[in-house]
């Protein structure tokens, strides 16, 4: 049967469907085909019928009562029926062997197990990362049908997913997927190919060194950059790394610098140093910071030292001075994670010349960098120089906000408690809660800084005993204060009176000590004024009261009174310290707590129920409350 002719007719019919059957009358292309059908129709009846169908389409008047559309449909139904019997199944050309990459994995999971993660891998939108991660953790990827979606997910636009696949999911298949990856890897490609290369390097180890070298040498920019970083720890590629570090492309040079930074050979150090002094001085900074070669540190220190020595000569030339400072900052950035005797000596000299660098040049970062270098050291000499600098800072920063912030923290570390008090109490004199002038804001900042040092606030795990055993580890907001013993040694006792005067309930709570009646009265009054457990006040006030050495009975009565206060509503969660105090109440207070229970909701309600249960003894189930 003439399949080509049928196919041609099919195309013509399709054309008429698209163009509209009304245009079919006298269609010359169909007309041209007609004789062949008529000729073949003499032998095969099906061609005769097709021929009649064609005639009906091109001569609308020949078949009575039927429209052009109907004729076209009739022809199409007949033609497609014939075509369906003519489907070709054989391939064109010779057959080749299949190239396989055998993977030993079962097809063990059911549709319902796999479909969720497969959908997550091939669709877009939120919430997919968790599904994929969970599926990986439960081992769903150990199925033959998951490899292909996993490989495809390397190009997921959501980077976290692509990286999860690259760093965990694909490496978990082991070297058996290496041939597939190598087969798919295209060195000329983009970011997706760099991810493939990463997996290849992880799985292939030494066996793929050549491939990675080739990629580093002749791949696309992204691929080269990744390949160079993968070659970093391989000593034998130093010559190539040196060559790539002079590449025309910035990205390649950057990768090469970072790779060279992992080595401490003279050549590598020379090259990095050369780049730092050349036009790549910015680009090479991360690599320089990473490089641990002592030789490099030594050279940098020498150069920085030379530069600083030129300072007196150029003092008058603002342009030169500014140029020099830009260069000095670059050296400081590079040196900030390094350590060497030469560097110590350099910084020591810098701090010795505080008046020059600070007062005259205002090179604050230089002094700060030197300061922080010595802070890491634990020696008498370091402490001495830090104290000396601090004294100078106290003068230099007198009217700067730094004075009540960083400088205060240094003072707290290096000066005696009395000296700190005397130095700083003046600042508090100008405290006015609602004022925004400079003196008042300095005072406010000082109070904040002291609070930062003394009171720690954080979210941490807490054993929520009121929950069922499985749910007991909870994250909760916690407040912790410096222990009273530490406070007594590290702080001047006069601070407490100052804080009471300024109505600083939090600092009063922290600094409160036994035998200070004024503080106790202050805190009790504060708690009466602010009994609401929903606020953070009451919790801190209770902590403070405990520090005043108030009698247990009096403390517990104050707690109960606060709990019973009409204003104590809308509390959903009782803070840990208050909760612990409630737990210590005597069993006789149970009835008082039961009375107020309806005012508390959610977790607070569960906490109070637990307290009541505790009072009624372990055998009493919660239902009886």
């Amino acid at each position: 049967m003439s399949t080509a002719l049928l196919q041609e007719l099919h195309q013509e019919v399709k054309r008429l469907y698209i163009a509209g059957s009304e245009l079919a009358a006298e269609d010359f292309r169909l007309k041209r085909l007609l004789p062949q059908f008529q000729q073949l129709g003499e032998r095969a009846p099906i061609f005769k019928r097709l021929g009649e169908g064609v005639v009906a389409v091109i001569e609308p008047n020949s078949s009575e009562g039927s429209s052009s559309a109907q004729s076209l449909q009739e022809l199409s139904v007949l033609l497609s029926s014939v075509l369906y019997t003519q489907g070709a199944t054989s391939p064109d050309g010779e057959l080749l062997e299949v190239e396989v990459h055998p993977v030993r994995l079962p097809t063990q999971f059911s549709y319902r197990k796999l479909s969720a993660v497969q959908t997550a891998l091939k669709t877009r939108g939120g919430g997919r990362y968790e599904i994929i991660k969970e599926a990986f953790e439960t081992g769903l990827f150990q199925d033959l049908r998951m490899i292909h979606p996993a490989l495809a997910a390397l190009q997921d636009p959501y980077v976290e997913i692509a990286e999860l696949v690259m760093k965990q999911i694909l490496p978990a298949y082991g070297p058996q997927i290496l041939p597939i990856l190598i087969d798919q890897f295209d060195p000329a490609g983009g970011i997706v190919e760099t991810r493939k290369l990463y997996v290849i390097a992880v799985l292939g180890g030494d066996s793929v060194q050549d491939l990675i070298y080739q990629a580093a040498d002749s791949g696309s920019e992204d691929v080269r950059s990744m390949a160079i970083s993968l070659l970093a720890s391989q000593g034998q590629y130093e010559v190539e790394l040196l060559a790539w570090s002079t590449d025309k492309k910035k990205k390649i040079r950057e990768a090469a610098y970072n790779a060279l930074a992992k080595s401490d050979s003279a050549n590598a150090v020379n090259r990095l140093h050369e780049a730092f002094t050349g036009k790549d001085s910015e680009l090479v900074v991360p690599a320089m910071r990473q490089c641990q070669a002592q030789e490099l540190t030594k050279r940098l220190v020498e150069e920085l030292s030379d530069m600083l020595q030129t300072v007196p000569e150029i003092m008058g030339d603002t342009k030169k001075k500014d140029g020099l400072w830009i260069r000095v900052v670059q050296y400081l950035r590079v040196l900030s994670y390094k350590c060497s005797p030469e560097l110590e000596k350099l910084y020591f000299n810098v701090l010795e010349q505080y008046p020059l660098y600070m007062n005259q040049l205002k090179w604050n970062s230089l002094i700060e960098e030197a300061n922080s270098y010595f802070r890491q050291l634990d020696s008498m000499e370091a402490k001495r120089i830090l104290q000396q600098t601090l004294e100078r800072d106290l003068v230099y920063y007198r009217n700067n906000r730094r004075y009540v912030n960083d400088v205060f923290k240094d003072a707290y570390l290096y000066l005696s408690p009395e000296r700190v008090y005397e130095q700083y109490v003046e600042v508090l004199k100008h405290y006015a809660p609602s004022s925004t002038n400079h003196a008042s804001s300095m005072a406010q900042q000082l109070l904040r800084t002291i609070s930062e040092v003394v009171v720690q606030r954080y979210h941490g795990t807490y054993n929520a005993v009121w929950n069922s055993p499985v749910d007991q580890i909870q994250y909760m907001y916690k407040v912790e204060m410096q222990p009273p013993e530490v406070l007594a040694i590290q702080w001047d006792s006069r601070w407490l009176d100052a804080f009471i005067e300024l109505d600083q309930y939090e600092l009063v709570s922290a600094f409160a000590r036994p035998g200070h009646a004024k503080a106790m009265q202050y805190l009790l009054r504060k708690l009466t004024d602010n009994p609401e457990f929903r606020n953070r006040f009451s919790n801190i006030l209770l902590m403070g009261l405990a520090r005043t050495g108030v009698g247990k009975q009096r403390l517990q009565e104050a707690l109960l009174v606060a709990l019973e206060d009409d204003r104590n509503t809308e509390c959903r969660l009782i803070e840990p310290y208050t909760f612990e105090q409630l737990c210590q109440l005597p069993a006789s207070s149970a009835s008082r707590i039961i009375t107020v229970l309806p005012r508390f909701s959610e977790v607070a309600e569960e906490q109070l129920e637990y307290v009541i249960r505790l009072m009624q003894g372990p055998s009493n189930p919660i239902e009886e409350v």
């Binding site: 139904v77 057959l95 062997e97 059911s110 479909s115 069922s468």
Partner: protein, 479 residues
């Protein structure tokens, strides 16, 4: 003693989210009480929910493989997560305290057993189910409406073709959508689906050439459907019994939903059948507005490959059990076959299972066709019928798998006949890349379950593998 496994509970669950939620309840210790009746056949418990009062799920194993599951929660899912949680807790060896069954549950159980008794009494008395009386004048009216609907449909398609597919714009598509709604009024749900499929094709933004080809195929199918439907309905009007046609699929095309009793009356039920699932897939059929769970099964006595189809309408998808792939052998007391030719739709209401054995796999392999040309002939014969299933599925023995110059997989039978494998339009998922993960020896002398498709534009009959059987392993490439 109740003998259940986690896998069994999984199969009870309507979907995977319900499994997860049920297990979550156990993990989070939301069960306040876990009880077992004194005779051991009922599990019941109390579970905390989001509301103020707790829920009381229960599972009654009086019929051991068909538990009756109840819960006081308002969820429409059956079983709900609370019942599933109760069962997972039982499998997870949680402590179930022996207790008497709560009163309201006992009342429900009694009512049910009375119902069962009455049923079995009726069966014992031999009371035959009264044949449903057909209201003939109503049916006549309905057929009249259907014929009218076909005329409307014909008018629409012809006007589309006269003007040409190239001229159909958004407004044209909207007009088709209006007709889709109209078809419902004419009791032509089958036509409704096919017309919606046409509208979807014409509004898709895919490759124009390809969608035109598919749209034209769809139009010819609708034309054939109108012709056959009209002939069938006219005949039916003349038939004094107005009986259903159980030999062709035309009733289904017209929108008839076969009832199991009707199928039984037509002699389309067989008893005690073993089915083995060969492949499974689930897809979203936008034209039906339903999710479809499709399973291909081989019938043990005949070697015929059937399919199970479960439709889950979008609106109710959450409450309908989502089928899963199935690897055991299903022992089915009564299997109902739908009218059709190859890969008939089948349905069953209950089954028991037994594990798949090596003998079963050997038997499946022996049922594969060894001659491609013979199989192609059968397939082409089916395809030429415009209303036939365009994606027949067959089991073929493959001598060798190779690659063509165009980098396509090609399978060859013993006599050297070839078939090019390719991804087919009907399947969303491409299984072909999986073939490269097999060892070479696994790719020769194997058995493949293939889904076929004829592509009119290229004039090629292509196939995509669904499952590969090598040795005793049945490797599901889809699910």
């Amino acid at each position: 003693m109740i003998d259940i496994t986690e896998v069994f509970i999984d199969t009870l669950a309507p979907n995977s989210a319900a499994i997860k939620n049920g297990q979550g309840l156990v993990k989070k210790r939301r069960f306040v009480q876990l009880n077992q009746s004194e005779d051991g056949v009922v599990l019941f418990g109390e579970c905390g929910g989001s509301g103020s009062s707790n829920y009381y799920p229960s599972a009654d194993f009086v019929v051991s493989d068909k538990p009756v599951m109840r819960c006081t929660c308002p969820s429409r899912q059956l079983p709900c997560k609370h019942v599933l949680g109760l069962l997972y807790a039982y499998v997870g060896k949680e402590n179930f305290v022996s207790a008497t069954i709560p009163e309201d549950l006992a009342v429900k159980r009694e009512k049910m057993s009375k119902r069962e008794e009455r049923k079995s009494e009726l069966a014992a008395e031999g009371a035959t189910v009264k044949p449903k009386k057909v209201n003939k004048s109503a049916l006549k009216k309905k057929i009249g409406a259907q014929l009218e609907g076909l005329a409307v449909l014909e008018k629409l398609t012809q006007s589309l073709i006269r003007a040409g597919l190239g001229t159909i714009d958004a407004k044209g598509v909207k007009d088709i959508q209006v007709h889709v709604k109209m078809m419902g009024n004419y009791y032509l749900t089958g036509a409704q689906i096919e017309l919606r499929r046409l509208a979807l094709l014409l509004s898709s933004s895919d490759n124009r050439e390809k969608t035109y080809s598919l749209a034209i195929e769809q139009l010819t199918r609708i034309h054939a459907f109108i012709k056959k439907g009209r002939a069938h309905l006219t005949l039916k009007l003349e038939d004094p019994d107005m009986s259903l046609n159980h030999e062709s699929t035309i009733e289904e095309w017209l929108g008839h939903a076969w009832q199991l009793t009707e199928l039984k009356e037509c002699g389309l039920m067989s008893s005690d059948v073993e089915l083995i699932q060969l492949s499974f897939l689930s897809y979203d059929d936008a034209a039906r507005q339903e999710y479809v769970d499709l399973g291909y099964w081989i019938e043990k006595s005949t070697g015929d490959i059937h399919r199970t189809l479960q439709y889950r309408p979008y609106k109710a998808a959450k409450y309908i059990h989502e089928e899963d792939s199935f690897t055991d052998v299903a022992l089915i007391p009564s299997l109902y076959r739908y009218p059709g030719d190859r890969n008939r739709r089948v349905r069953f209401e209950s089954m028991s299972t037994r594990p798949l054995t090596n003998q079963d796999v050997e038997w499946i392999v022996s049922k594969a066709s060894y001659s491609f040309s013979e199989s192609f002939k059968q397939i082409k014969n089916q395809l030429k019928n415009p209303l036939a299933d365009k994606n027949p599925v067959m089991l073929l023995h493959v001598n060798k798998i190779s690659k063509s110059q165009q980098d396509q997989f090609v399978i060859t039978d013993e006599s050297g006949q070839h078939l090019v494998l390719d991804q087919i339009v009907a399947l969303e998922q491409n299984t072909l890349p999986l073939l490269q993960y097999f060892a070479l020896e696994e790719l020769s002398d194997t058995t493949m379950l293939l889904m076929f498709e004829h592509q009119l534009d290229t004039g090629r009959l292509k196939a995509q593998p669904l499952t590969l059987i090598k040795g005793m392993d049945m490797i599901r490439l889809l699910y």
